[in-house]
Amino acid sequence: MTEDEIRKEEQVIERSKKDPRAFGELYEKYFDRIFNYIYRQTDDEELAGDLCSQTFVNALNNINRYEFRGFPFSAWLYKIAGNEVNKHYRKNKGNKIFSIEELKVRELVEQGTDDLNEELITQLIRYMNELPTDMIQVLELRFFEDKDFKEIAFILDMTESGAKMRTYRALDKLRTNFNLKVKYDG
């Protein structure tokens, strides 16, 4: 995001504090991203729609408390969305679901050789099922949402070094277990 975009967004937020209708601009801008983020953690369109609406309602309810901390406004929305998803799973006591697009998995794993076949992808998914949930969350934000570590740390309420550590560990395991080259710009 450029400086100009951030400043423009700040102006919209200031207007939204006085007039909730102004928030519509941010809603339109971030709806798809937040919806997809929630959908990837629920695999249920209806539920993702509900939680997404609740995310924006919560954001609007608390817009007066929002203050710029060096992150784009979307990071705040991701944080609220993550809390809504966690609240849903706590309430329903079910296992968390991560719905990952095959295309994204292929993007994540750059082939060292030409053996990224169906079976390997299945093994990879099985392996990812064994990883701790918080590790998957970090990987998801890093590779599927393209967030930097500072933003990930803010969204998941952890330190930046903690976020980096989890990513390194998960990727190291992937490298050693599957002998794959993984896209990573550290």
Binding site: P20, R21, G24, Y27, E28, F31, D32, F35, N36, Y39, D43, E45, A48, G49, C52, S53, F56, V57, L60, N61, Y89, N95, K96, I97, F98, S99, I100, E101, E102, L103, V105, I121, I125, M128, N129, P132, T133, D134, I136
Partner: protein, 83 residues
């Protein structure tokens, strides 16, 4: 650290798919309702607090009245019977 399940999706979620759930008017309406409920709760809590303070004040006043010294005229008075 909870358990999770990873599902592989072959197709990408289309923008059209999410458009069905895009409704800012509904968000505004819900925000309005929640704001109203919050205001009512705040006013109710305020009056409840005032009521509690008044009740406590009245109870203390009553208790003080009960505990207060009995009228002196009764304790010190001596009666003389004249026959």
């Amino acid at each position: 650290m909870g358990k999770h399940e990873i599902r592989l999706r072959r197709q990408r979620m289309s923008a059209r798919g999410s458009d069905r759930y895009r409704n800012y008017n509904a968000v505004l309406k819900q925000h309005g309702n929640e704001k109203r409920i919050k205001q009512i709760t705040r006013i109710f809590t305020f009056f409840l607090l005032i009521a509690v303070i008044i009740i406590i004040f009245m109870a203390i006043t009553r208790w003080e009245k009960k505990q207060g010294p009995k009228p002196q005229s009764k304790t010190n008075s001596t009666s003389v019977k004249l026959v």
